[in-house]
Amino acid sequence: MSRDLVTIKGGKDGFRLLVDSSASMEEIEAEIKKKLDANPGFFPEGTKFELEVADLDRSVKKGIGQILSQHGLGVELSARKEAPAKPKEQPQPVSQAAIQHDGNVEAQEMTVVDHTIRGGEEVTSQGSVLIMGNVNPGAQIIAGGSIDIRGTCRGMVHAGAWGDTSAVVIADRLMPTQIRIANMIARSPDIMEKNNFAERASIKDGQIIIEPIER
């Protein structure tokens, strides 16, 4: 895959916007528009993006802010390592995630799939996975992080596939053949009941539990 001019990464504490500083304002603007229009409504109004740039021009930063605000979104300037020109405009936030994860704050790219995953198909991601559609029987989702399914899940889902026991699986209707989280496996009951509420599967007290959630 060629390097995008603009990359949106989802992390534990929000979204990060990575911009290639060699691109022109027009290119950046078109790219951001394309990304946002590809999934209208995906980013709820008021979502703030952390802008991570090495040496972007002030006018470009302003331009990005304008584009995002047109879409009802906001931008926060990053105070991370890559902004040496502006030493500490804002105090560096100490995120909750950083403490829980032994200082490993490397945000992982979230995989977003905007269609139904059919039997025989497989989605694998190092990070989290968001499926906007159903996961049909015979399909597999394997994610290093959590899995969110905006639809019915009937396939096999494996969250935290590389050992993350805090990963969860959420679906509008959760009726998978198997749920795996980290190294634990739960299989479905032989007679599946059909629920009409969203559920979340997670590990609690050493076993996978499923509980209804609001969303």
Binding site: H115, R118, G119, G120, E121, N134, N136, P137, G138
Partner: protein, 262 residues
């Protein structure tokens, strides 16, 4: 404006050839110029369902290899002059035809016919890839059975990967009594999983078997539930808005009536 339609299913025995034959005859009855292509090379049987076996002179492989012109290989239907069949070979295998060949053939036939309907072999291998190559529309046939629905789902995924996005569903061989008693998957469950536009629900009907043996598709038969269902599908393909029919149930009184032949 002509349309190339492929009838496919993944699983065998769900009624691809039966559906192809019925849609072909149904469209021909409505005055359309139709050509049916059997691509199940080595296991041909579309000609049997149409009662045309004894009229075959040349086949698809002869045409692809350039031994004869398309016109010479087409077999005209006994009753409907505007319905033609391009049978395939019973002695060769699927490797005798490749996707590019069939695509070129479809484009040739498209000039002269309103509908080109391709009967796809079971499976997802080369035969399937060949059959779908030239199609504008795919009709996926399934039946209310977990394995058939699972295979249909896989096929829909494969069609998507081949950039065939116009996909329609026919649910065949439904037994209304079993659906009612919860022993068979109901239509909503199937539509929920497959999530593509359903254009037909065809009940299981012994007339389908008897008519196949005679070589006369059931579509014209007004006494047959399946015949009516196929007629409705033909209507929907032509853009008419026809509601799905209620199935007659073989209740006690119905059976009693039958026994006494009222």
């Amino acid at each position: 404006m002509s349309e190339v339609i492929v009838v496919t299913s993944g699983k065998g025995g769900v009624g691809k050839s039966t559906t192809t034959a019925n849609l072909g005859v149904g469209l021909a009855m409505r005055g359309k110029k139709v050509v049916l292509i059997d691509t199940d090379t080595g296991l041909r049987n579309l000609d049997l369902l149409l009662g045309l076996e004894n009229r075959i002179m040349y086949d698809l492989v002869d045409v692809i290899d350039g031994r004869v012109e398309i016109k010479k290989a087409l077999v005209r239907h006994k009753k409907y002059e505007n319905l033609q069949l391009l049978p395939t070979s019973q002695v060769k295998d699927k490797s005798a035809v490749n996707p590019a060949d069939l695509m070129a053939l479809c484009d040739e036939l498209r000039k002269e016919y309103d509908y080109v309907i391709i009967d796809c072999p079971a499976g997802i291998e080369q035969g399937f890839q060949t059959a779908i190559a030239g199609a504008d529309t795919a009709i996926v046939v399934t039946m209310p059975e977990v394995s058939a629905v699972r295979d249909a789902d896989k096929i829909i995924g494969e069609l998507g990967r081949s950039e065939k996005d116009n996909i329609k569903l026919i649910i065949n061989r439904i037994r209304p009594a079993m659906v009612d008693s919860g022993e068979m998957m109901d239509m909503d469950d199937i539509n929920d999983i497959l999530a593509i536009k359903c254009i037909g629900q065809v009940p299981d009907d012994i007339k389908v078997v008897t008519s196949a043996n005679r070589g006369e598709p059931v579509v014209g038969d007004s006494d047959s539930q399946a015949g009516k269902a196929y007629e409705n599908i033909v209507g929907r393909l032509l853009g008419e808005d026809i509601p799905f029919m209620e199935f007659e149930k073989e209740g006690f009184f119905k059976r009693l009536k039958k026994a006494f032949k009222f």
